[in-house]
């Protein structure tokens, strides 16, 4: 990808990251700070020594800290929905991010406050100060440098967590790196986002350190003692400027951005999509075709295959575009949802590739073939191999056939890998069944390089636009369906994906 293509991804990712990390940091501080202080105060021998409260708060904090973030993200979906009315998008991602960061920050606050000399507490008490005075006039100001250092660490951890926000359509630099770099082999994008992340993390650390040093110098600690008075003043001035500027600019920018993304237009059609190719096709439609039809699209990208359907079912998005019929049928049945396909758009045909064999006949006994390991893709891969006579399957083997259904493997060995990783393994095996989109991303050309490929016509794995049952006749949906099956989109798909993804228009067969 060229820089002009990467640049908007980066700036959008940066804004999303800033938005999510900024707000979640703010919330983590607002809640984590009192919690951390409470942990110190209620501890045995503390000002409010209260063992039950201390134990309960400590336990909650520990549970919060031990949950892997991705689990927290999913577990909090009902809570997030209750809080912000939706569990998708950058705003919703703030909830799990903040909740993940609260216990983390609280422990850092606790240890920072514990470091404060007990003598100071005693001095304030001896003056007649109560607990609030001790906290606000002694503990917090004295712990300030450690608190700032803890805040820096928290922000950096949140930047890391926010990479997982892609699961709930939060976007951000981390999820750009995963979507483009890992899943699409756009190494240039991955490098650019990773560099951007390194720059941001470094900048956060530098600013944090500068503020800590500024405070220490201001208080005449070791750093300040050595330097001359003028140098100290200069540094103090700079430290303050940085701190004040950050304190003013960051929240303002966040609020502004939040309002920007918060705009919710009834006319706008919200569509959940996988980043590639679905969101790209939708973006093409939005940019080039939608305006003429008076249609506005709000495209939400998801790395995950569950959330787009649940969000469609709950009405948080109006439609989705990422799945095929076998997957949807299974989903509707298992999750008791009522999602209905509207129109087929494209197919990512599976094909068999090889760097060693020039022909199907070269796949003789002892050779190794890699196949995707998820049930749908593995079934598709085995059917593709069977249709081309490479193996034989049990008669009646369903869509989700497994290696157990192979009746004659012709002496081949199979290696099951995650679909996105199969292309990476191509050099290490004799042949591999690869999804079209991944194949194109690795530089393979399905029409030229494939030894065998799925047929487009009548293929049940075509991806379609889907809505909650009852919304099929929404005029906006109808417009979108029409546009998705237009000649322009056909050309766009053919030109852009070069056979890795094929247009597969028309009604969805049952």
């Amino acid at each position: 990808m060229s820089w002009s293509e990467i640049q908007p991804l980066l700036s959008q990712g940066f804004l999303d990251t800033l938005y999510m990390v900024g707000w979640s940091t703010l919330i983590a501080v607002l809640i984590g700070l009192p919690l951390g202080v409470l942990l110190v105060l209620t501890d045995r021998g503390g000002l409010l020594g209260n063992a039950p409260v201390n134990k309960v708060v400590g336990a909650i904090v520990n549970i919060g800290r031990s949950l892997p973030f991705i689990i927290l993200l999913i577990a909090l979906i009902p809570f997030t929905r209750f809080l912000v009315g939706s569990f998708i998008g950058p705003t919703a991602a703030i909830v799990p991010l903040a909740i993940g960061a609260i216990p983390f920050f609280a422990r850092l606050v606790e240890s920072a406050v514990r470091e404060v000399d007990k003598g100071l507490v005693e001095a304030v008490q001896a003056m007649g100060g109560g607990t609030p005075t001790v906290v606000f006039k002694a503990l917090l100001p004295q712990a300030l440098p450690s608190l700032v250092a803890g805040l820096t660490t928290t922000v950096i951890v949140l930047i890391g967590y926010s990479a997982m926000a892609g699961t709930v359509g939060g976007g951000g630099l981390g999820s750009v790196a995963v979507q483009y770099g890992y899943q699409r082999f756009e190494t240039s994008v991955m490098i650019a986002t990773v560099v951007a992340l390194i720059v941001i993390v470094t900048a956060v650390q530098l600013v944090g350190d500068a503020v800590v040093r500024g405070v220490a110098a201001h208080r005449g600690g070791a750093a300040g003692g050595a330097a001359g008075a003028s140098g100290r003043l200069a540094r103090l001035g700079r430290g303050r400027t940085v701190a004040v500027t950050a304190a003013v600019v960051v929240p303002l920018a966040l609020i502004g951005y939040g309002l920007g993304t918060g705009g919710d237009d009834k006319q706008t059609l919200k569509v959940a999509a996988s980043p590639t190719p679905h969101a790209e096709i939708l973006e093409y439609v939005e940019k080039n075709l939608a305006k003429k039809e008076g249609l506005k699209l709000d495209i939400r990208k998801f790395n995950d295959y569950v959330v787009p359907n649940t969000a469609t079912e709950s009405g948080e998005v109006d439609a989705n575009f990422f799945q095929h019929k076998p997957y949807l049928d299974d989903f509707n049945e298992k999750k008791n949802t009522h999602i209905e396909p509207v129109v087929n758009v494209e197919l990512e045909p599976l094909a068999l590739y090889s760097k060693k064999a020039g022909d199907l006949k070269d796949l003789t006994a002892g050779k190794t073939v890699a196949v995707p390991n998820d049930s749908t893709n593995e079934g598709r891969a085995l059917h593709l191999l069977a249709d081309n006579g490479v193996i034989e399957l049990k008669s009646g083997a369903g869509a989700e056939a497994t290696l157990g259904d192979v009746t004659d493997d012709k002496g081949l060995n199979f290696k099951e890998l995650e679909a996105a990783s199969v292309p990476r393994a191509l050099d290490d095996v004799d042949a591999a069944v690869i999804n079209g989109n991944y194949a194109v991303d690795t530089g393979l050309n399905p029409s030229k390089d494939a030894l065998a490929a799925e047929k487009v016509k009548g293929n049940p794995y075509a991806n379609f636009l889907a809505v909650k049952d009852g919304n099929q006749d929404d005029p906006r949906i109808k417009k979108l369906a029409k546009l998705l099956n237009s000649d322009e989109v056909k050309h766009f798909i053919e030109n852009k994906y070069k056979g890795g993804i094929a247009p597969a228009f028309g009604p969805v067969g049952s």
Binding site: L47, L48, E122, M127, G220
Partner: protein, 411 residues
């Protein structure tokens, strides 16, 4: 410096008379318990501002109990500097922290300026101090060994803190804090941070801060223990000046006898959570067998031969100028050797101490010793190795001229 300052700050070794001085460190008393007089309560001349009644403090940790205070009766009179001395772990800090209820006493009462503070303490397990107790604390100043200044604030800010707690307005605070800094001689340091001050300057800030609430009472927990001798003297001088100028009552605890000698009007010796002696400093010095007196004013000297009686004689005020020893020698025709002697100013008064040796056993010397007592001296038969160290008949003359209480040593 005021004229009195030089005297107060005088070194121990500074001899005014041509008396020879030997000053080995004096080991704590080997004196038998029966040598002490029976306890008696001090008469109350002047108002008592700090009183503790049967104060006990027991620390309970998971596996053991420590009795830090074991029935302490403290009486500090208005306008005096009262020193509590004792070795580390004796319970001094526990005592001073009980006075403003930073530590809640296990039993007993604490009265400061007529107010029973123990009655204000929270009930049960509630460790929070109620409004009344906090208000009372605001009227008691406290200075600490490690200063306990906030590094997050300037010197001025530190002195303003108690004023903030008292609810003074911004301008009023600054004015008052500057005044206090001026009082302790740090007006020019108002805008620096504590980290840039020397130990002595920090303690001056600590004192200024302690005075912010116009306290009647100042508590000092080893305020000079982290300072070098020179700085110690100047800080003690400041305390003394404040005591004189403001009529401030000071309760200070220390493990250094020098401190007691330099500033205290009264003192108590603490051991294992109890006062073994307490009284005015002159009174203690006049008390035979007083361990504090011996510690305050050690005289050394070893008897020249066995079978001789060694006697420690303490001179006070008038008697310092009397040629008592030569009178004794002439009157009873005895050869007296002076083993050691020292002269010093204690609590602003001249005191001399001398260790003399009389030939013969104690019984042989009952009459000369009686003579010395008649002259108004405190006479103590020293328990020195080689000396018979026989009991002194308990006649009324052993009682010191002022309130002194010497309790039996704690077990």
């Amino acid at each position: 410096m005021r004229p009195g300052a030089a005297a107060t700050a005088r070194h121990l070794g500074e001899l005014q008379h041509a008396t020879e001085r030997t000053a080995p460190s004096c080991a704590l008393s080997a004196r038998p318990a029966w040598a002490y007089g029976s306890p008696h309560t001090p008469t109350n001349n002047g108002n008592t501002v700090i009183t503790t009644q049967d104060l006990t403090k027991v620390y309970r940790t998971r596996d053991r109990e420590v009795t830090a205070l074991d029935g302490v009766n403290l009486h500090v009179r208005e306008g005096e500097v009262f020193g509590v001395v004792g070795q580390s772990g004796a319970g001094k800090s526990s005592l001073i922290r009980c006075v403003n209820l930073l530590e809640r006493p296990t039993s007993g009462t604490v009265t400061v300026d007529g107010q029973d503070l123990t009655a204000l303490a929270g009930k049960g397990n509630d460790k929070r101090a109620g409004r009344e107790l906090r208000a009372a604390r605001g009227r008691i100043g406290m200075v600490f060994q490690h200063f306990n200044l906030l590094s997050s604030r300037t010197v001025l800010g530190n002195v303003e803190l108690p004023l903030e707690i008292l609810g003074h307005s911004g301008q009023e605070r600054t004015r008052k804090a500057r005044e206090l800094l001026d009082l302790v001689g740090l007006a020019d340091k108002a805008n620096t941070h504590p980290a840039q001050l020397s130990g002595g300057q920090k303690q001056r800030v600590g004192i200024a801060r302690a005075l912010a609430g116009d306290p009647k009472v100042l508590l000092s927990d080893e305020a000079t223990s982290a300072l070098d001798p020179e700085t110690t003297r100047s800080v003690l001088q400041l305390l003394r000046d404040l005591n004189k100028q403001l009529g401030l009552t000071v309760l200070l605890i220390t493990h250094e006898m020098e401190v007691v000698k330099a500033v205290c009007d009264s003192a108590a010796l603490m051991k294992n959570g109890r006062f073994t002696e307490s009284g005015t400093v002159p009174g203690l010095l006049a008390t035979p067998g007083s361990e504090l007196a011996r510690e305050l004013f050690p005289v050394g000297g070893v008897p020249s031969a066995p079978g001789r009686t060694v006697v420690d004689v303490t001179f006070h005020g008038e008697t310092t100028t009397e040629p008592v020893i030569s009178k004794l020698s002439r009157t009873y025709n005895v050869d007296i050797s002076i083993l050691g002697a020292a002269m010093d100013t204690v609590a602003g008064k001249q005191v001399g101490r001398m260790r003399i040796e009389l030939p013969g056993s104690f019984e042989d010397n009952v009459v000369p010793i009686g003579f010395l007592r008649e002259q108004g001296l405190t006479v103590d038969v020293a328990a020195v190795a080689g000396s018979p160290g026989l009991p002194v008949p308990d006649d009324g003359g052993r009682r010191g001229p002022e309130d002194v209480r010497v309790e039996e040593g704690a077990k």
